[in-house]
C-alpha cells in the first residue's frame, strides 16, 4: 500500500470532471420532473448529445460550437418526447424508454464516421494569478468553461425554483396541473419548455463525456450515466444543491476507489467497486429524512378536459 502515490490535487480535480456529465443530466431532469414530467429518456438524449457535439466539434474545429450542437441535439430529441407525451398524451414511462432505445440507435448511426477521430481540445479558462494559489488554485481554477457552467446551472435552477415567479409556476404545474390550468397557466406549454431544457442539459452532459472526459466517440459510450442521473434526482429529493452534493459524492467515491486500487490499498476490490452507489444512496437517504415528496403530478398526463 502506498497512499503517497495518490495526488490529492489531481484526485479532486479529477472527480469534479467525472461528476460534471452527471450534474448536467440530473439538473435537466430535475426541472422536467418539477414540472410533472417523468422523462426516462435521459440516457438516449445524452448519447445523442454526445455524438452531435462530437461531430460538430470535429467538423468545425470548435468545441464550444460542439457543445451548442449537443444541447440542440438533446433538445431536438426531447421535442419528440414532448410531442408524444404532451400532444398525443402517450404514456410517459413507455415514451421515455423508447426515447432511450431510439437515441442509442440514432447515435450509433450518426457516429459511424467518427470512430477513432480525435476531437479538438477545449482549453481551460485562464484565471491568471488565481490558478497559482496553493491547493485551491489547481483544484478550482484549472478547468474548462463547461464545468463551471454546470455549477452555475445548478445555482440558476435553485434560484429559479425558489425565488422567482417562473419557478413558482413551474412547481405549481408539477404539483397540480388542474389547479394551474384553472389559474390560466398553459400547462402543456410549460411542460414542453421544461422537457426541452432537460433535453438540452442531457445533451451537454453527453458531450462532456465525448469531448472532455474520454475524449472520443464510441457507440454506447454513456454506458448508463443517464440512469444514474435519474436515480440521483429522486435521492436528492428534487433539490438542486443536494443533487450537486450527490453528484460530487458519486464522482468522488468512484475516483477514490480507482485511486485506492492503484495504490494497492488492502480493502477487497468488490467493496470498493460498489461503494460509490452505496455511500451516495446512504447519504442522500439520510439527508432526505425531512419527507420531501415527489411533485404530486409527476408522470401524470394532462388534458384540459380532465
Amino acid at each position: 500500500m502506498d497512499l503517497s502515490a495518490i495526488n490529492p490535487l489531481l484526485f479532486v480535480a479529477g472527480f469534479l470532471v467525472a461528476a460534471t456529465p452527471l450534474i448536467f443530466a440530473a439538473i435537466g431532469e430535475l426541472v422536467a420532473e418539477k414540472s410533472g414530467v417523468l422523462n426516462l429518456g435521459v440516457e438516449g438524449m445524452m448519447i445523442t448529445g454526445a455524438i452531435c457535439g462530437f461531430a460538430t466539434a470535429v467538423e468545425t474545429g470548435s468545441p464550444l460550437l460542439g457543445f451548442a450542437a449537443a444541447a440542440a441535439g438533446g433538445a431536438a430529441l426531447s421535442l419528440l418526447f414532448a410531442f408524444l407525451t404532451q400532444v398525443t398524451l402517450a404514456n410517459q414511462v413507455a415514451s421515455g424508454l423508447a426515447l432511450t432505445l431510439f437515441g442509442l440507435g440514432l447515435s450509433a448511426l450518426l457516429g459511424q464516421g467518427y470512430v477513432g477521430v480525435k476531437p479538438p481540445r477545449l482549453g481551460d479558462i485562464d484565471f491568471g494569478p488565481l490558478a497559482d494559489i496553493p491547493v485551491i488554485g489547481p483544484i478550482l481554477f484549472t478547468h474548462d468553461i463547461i464545468l463551471y457552467l454546470g455549477i452555475a446551472l445548478v445555482a440558476g435552477v435553485w434560484v429559479l425554483l425558489r425565488f422567482t415567479r417562473a419557478g413558482l409556476i413551474l412547481r405549481a404545474v408539477g404539483e397540480s396541473h388542474n389547479a394551474a390550468h384553472a389559474l390560466g397557466y398553459k400547462v402543456r406549454r410549460i411542460r414542453t419548455l421544461a422537457i426541452v431544457f432537460g433535453g438540452a442539459c442531457a445533451g451537454l452532459g453527453g458531450a462532456y463525456i465525448s469531448l472532455i472526459r474520454v475524449p472520443q466517440w464510441t457507440e454506447g459510450m454513456t454506458a448508463g450515466v443517464g440512469w444514474i442521473a435519474l436515480a440521483l434526482v429522486v435521492f436528492a429529493s428534487w433539490k438542486p444543491w443536494r443533487l450537486l452534493l450527490g453528484a460530487y459524492l458519486f464522482g468522488g467515491i468512484t475516483q477514490l476507489q480507482l485511486n485506492l486500487q492503484g495504490a494497492g490499498v488492502a480493502i477487497p476490490v468488490e467493496y470498493l467497486a460498489m461503494s460509490p452507489y452505496l455511500i451516495t444512496i446512504l447519504v442522500l437517504v439520510i439527508l432526505s429524512a425531512d419527507k420531501s415528496a415527489a411533485p404530486a403530478s409527476l408522470g401524470r398526463n394532462f388534458h384540459a378536459s380532465g
Partner: protein, 357 residues
Amino acid sequence: MKLSTILTSATLALGLATGAVAQDKTKVGFVYVGPVGDGGWTYEHDQGRLAVEEEFGDKVETVYVENVAEGPDSERVMTQMALDGADLIFTTSFGYMDPTINVAKKFPDVKFEHATGYKRADNVSTYSARFYEGRAIQGLIAGHMTESNIIGYIGSFPIPEVIRGINSAFIHARKVNPDVQFKIVWAYTWFDPAKEADAAKVLIEQGADVVLQHTDSTAPQAAAQEAGNVITFGQASDMAQYGPKPRVSSIIDDWAPYYIERTRAVMDGTWESTDTWDGIGAGMVGIGEISDAVPADVKAEALELKEKIASGEYHPFTGPLNKQDGSEWLADGEVADDGTLAGMNFYVEGLEGTIPQ
C-alpha cells in the same frame, strides 16, 4: 452499422423478430457483450460474423444482438435466438457461461459455442484464444519502454483469462527490466468508456507511463493520448487509429477462420463438442504492427519472441516460476499445463496486491 442491422437487432431485442426463416438456410446467431462499434472485442467478433456471411453467401443467415448484459438477460436473448430457429449460436463473453449451458439443455438440437469459458456439454463447445501469448510480447515491450518503471494495468473482471494476461505481461516485463512494478485497477466492466478512461487517468496520475488494458473500448487509448508521454497497446482489435503513439502495438483477435469452420461443420453435420484454444501459431491471435515509437532493437526482440511462441519453441509460462507467496509453481524448464492455465487464479511472484475473489 447499417440501418437494417440496427433494425434487425432492435426488433430481436424487443422479441419481435419475424421468424420467417427459410428452412434450407443455416442460421447462425451471435450474442455480444458490447456494441459492434466498440472498436475492440465485440468489433472483432462481428468481423468474424461478416466473414461467415461472405464465405457462405445465401446459404447462411446471421443474426446478432449487441449490448447483452452478462447474466439472466443473456439467457433470455439466447432462448429467443434458439426459438427463432438458430442452428448455431456463438456466445462471446465469459459471463455467458452458465446461461449458455442452461439454454443448451433446453435446446439439444441447437449447437452452442461459448467463448473463453470452460464448461462444455454435448451441444456446447468452447473456444478461446491464447491472448497471454500476445501479452508476453506486450510485457517485453512495456518493460523496455517504461521510464518510471510503473506499468498500469486495467483489468475487467478477476477471471482466469485476465489473470493469465497480467501474469504473462508481468513475467516478460520483469525479464527485461527487474525494477518494473505493476499497478492493477479492476474496472468491473467490459465496456464503459468513461470508467475505462478514468481508470487510465488514475494510473497515469500515479506514475504509470505504460497502460495495458483488458477492457473492450478505445477510451484508455484516448486518455493516454491526452496525457502525453504514455504508451498503450490495442486490445482485441488493432486500434491503429491511436498509433504510432500512444498505441505502439496490439493484440488482434481473429475469429473469422474459426467461425467459418464451425459453421461449415454444422452444415455438413460433422459438428462435435470440442475445446479449441489457439494462439499466435494458428493465427487466432495476431500481433498488430509495432510502431516506430518503439526502438528498433526492442522491436526486433519482440518479433523474435513472437516467432518463438508461434513455432512452439517457447511457452510464455516456462519455469522457473514461483507463485506470489513464494511457493514453487514451475521448476526450471517446466511448462505450464493447459488445465492450470485455464483455471489460473493466482499471481506470480513479484506482483503486488491480491486478486479479488
